[in-house]
């Protein structure tokens, strides 16, 4: 067993599995898909040691529904996959959101659309942050950019899922899944949350129902309004964002996940050359740091959004900036991971 504070070298997706177990996850169901099958293998090996349940499901659809079942009983549960598999899970995620059931879903995304490839990509931003499945709902979306942050956000994911009774997506590229980095783990946590809503039999209380069917329009609207109220609270309380060198920056780079990591390295270099470039890294993609970016727009000439996609988060940045200053975009697709030098060139072009 890995001691608290002991530095180990670990793959991102395996580190997530270890962190999930430490965060109290006791149920995992999943279906193998590159580049994150090692997460399922880790769970298969380790979860039973803690009294947890691992199931290799017949499909991604079954996996998310097994998680739904476990969540119904109040068990901390998760599944993980990569882009095509996450598409299959959308039905279940919509039901989880509608039934207000907590669950953690990891997407180590890869090149798409379609079968695409297995190289790192962040082109599932729209799917993750705008709902993904049917109906008016939102996932909480966390975007780590290192193995260490993956561990920290995995703990946070389980806490937020329980606090808001909402699915939480951890969205990071397949690069984080496969990359090994030094990482330290937090202590094991015993789940403390009371879950009076969980179905564990009608003993000493009236029988209860978990459902998402409301045939009367006004009744369903009432349920939808309650969900919207919750998303509003999440927007107010849970924004997480990291910023560097915004003071006097003529250009502000906005990037998340893998792109943010490369961007941070590039920005560090241009700062050393004395160039006024800042960096904003959204850690929560929903809730998006809209107000933070709006405020930053007051003190800069221009934004540059860097993504491993054809341009998805850039739309949210534009919404935040509201035309106050130009928002430019540079993206690589298909699994291409740009080098810091490439970003350096793009940044300098815009100064």
């Amino acid at each position: 067993m890995i001691a608290v504070g002991e530095k180990v070298l670990m793959r991102g997706c395996e580190a997530m599995a270890e962190a999930a177990i430490r965060a109290g996850c006791r149920f995992y169901a999943g279906y193998p898909i590159t580049p994150q099958s090692e997460l399922a293998e880790y769970m298969a090996r380790e979860l039973p040691k803690y009294g947890g349940v691992f199931i290799q499901s017949e499909s991604e659809i079954a996996a998310i529904n097994m998680v739904l079942g476990a969540s119904v009983t109040g068990t901390r549960a998760m599944t993980s996959s990569s882009s095509p598999g996450i598409s299959l899970k959308q039905e279940g995620i919509s039901y989880l959101a509608a039934c207000e059931l907590p669950a953690v879903i990891a997407n180590f995304s890869r090149g798409g659309p379609g079968l695409g490839n297995i190289a790192p990509s962040d082109a599932d931003y729209f799917q993750a942050t705008k709902g993904g499945g049917h109906g008016d709902y939102r996932n909480i979306v966390l975007a780590p950019y290192s193995v260490q942050e993956t561990v920290e956000l995995t703990h946070l994911a389980f806490d937020l899922a329980d606090r808001y009774r909402n699915p939480v997506l951890i969205l990071c590229s397949g690069l984080i899944a496969q990359m090994m980095e030094p990482v330290e783990f937090m202590p094991f946590r015993e789940e403390k949350e009371e879950k009076p809503w969980a179905l564990r039999g009608a003993r000493g209380r009236p029988s209860m129902v978990i459902k998402s069917l409301y045939l009367q329009d006004v009744e369903l609207e009432g349920h939808d309004l309650k969900l919207q109220e919750k998303y509003k609270e999440i927007r107010e309380k849970e924004v997480r964002v990291e910023a560097q060198h915004l003071e006097g920056a003529k250009l502000v780079v906005v990037a998340f996940g893998t792109a943010a990591r490369v961007a941070a390295s590039a920005v560090e270099e241009v700062r050393e050359e004395g160039l006024p470039v800042g960096l904003i890294r959204p850690i929560t993609l929903f809730p998006f740091p809209t107000d933070f970016i709006r405020k930053a727009a007051e003190g800069t000439d221009r934004f540059l959004v860097l993504e491993l996609s054809g341009g998805q988060m850039v739309e949210d940045v534009e919404l935040a900036v509201r035309g106050r200053v130009p928002v430019e975009f540079y993206g690589r697709m298909g699994g291409v991971v740009p080098s810091p030098e490439e970003y350096l060139t793009e940044i300098k072009k815009r100064l």
């Binding site: 169901a29 079954a62 079942g69 009983t73 068990t75 039934c99």
Partner: protein
Amino acid sequence: MKLVFDRPRSMKDKPMHFCPGCSHGIVHRLVAEAIDALGLRERTVAVAPVGCAVFMYEYMDFDVTEAPHGRSPAVATGIKRSRPDLFVFTYQGDGDIGAIGLAEIISAANRGENFSVVFVNNTVYGMTGGQMAPTTLLGQRTTTTPRGREAKTEGHPLKMAELISGLEAPYYVARVAVDSPAHIARARKAILRAFQIQVEEKGFSFVEVLGACPLNWGLSPAEAIKRVQEELIPCYPLEIFKDKEQAVM
């Protein structure tokens, strides 16, 4: 005065919404009776399907969760594996179990999950208005087989009980009907047996119940019962296809 008829404890005192002659009411009652008989009400979590029986939770006085269409066996797997102390069953229709959720039921049965399945086969999609089900009989007219089901294009009626009993893991697989008092008595026994098997942690149990859907069949309730007897039962024989205990004896 002697009480000869009462509502099972596991049912709420509430009139049902089902159409006249629909079999769901009877099957609901048989399920509730079995849960009462085994004293399971306070540790039951049932999985309601998408379809006519989705409102099960309106009538049952135990915990119920919904599942997406066809996914009940996966949801039940999640419930039972995370809390093996709970009593778990799915209640499914023919479209739910035999079409959209075929992968989930076969896989759960093949894993030998220790929960029970009550499957109501009325050979038609009820809630959506009478479309073809995987169990629709050959020649049967539905809104999507206006000329009658043809083997050549729509395939043959799917025999779920036979399919499930062909797997190694399931412990108990039976088909019953609720068309007559004698058959209802046998159905009651089968459901009780299926639930008992779960309580004894013996594994997967499956009861297919042939039922009537007079509205979508375009028949009166009396005619519908006749159809069950004359058309359904010859295609779907009433049998205990598998009982591992009987096999040992």
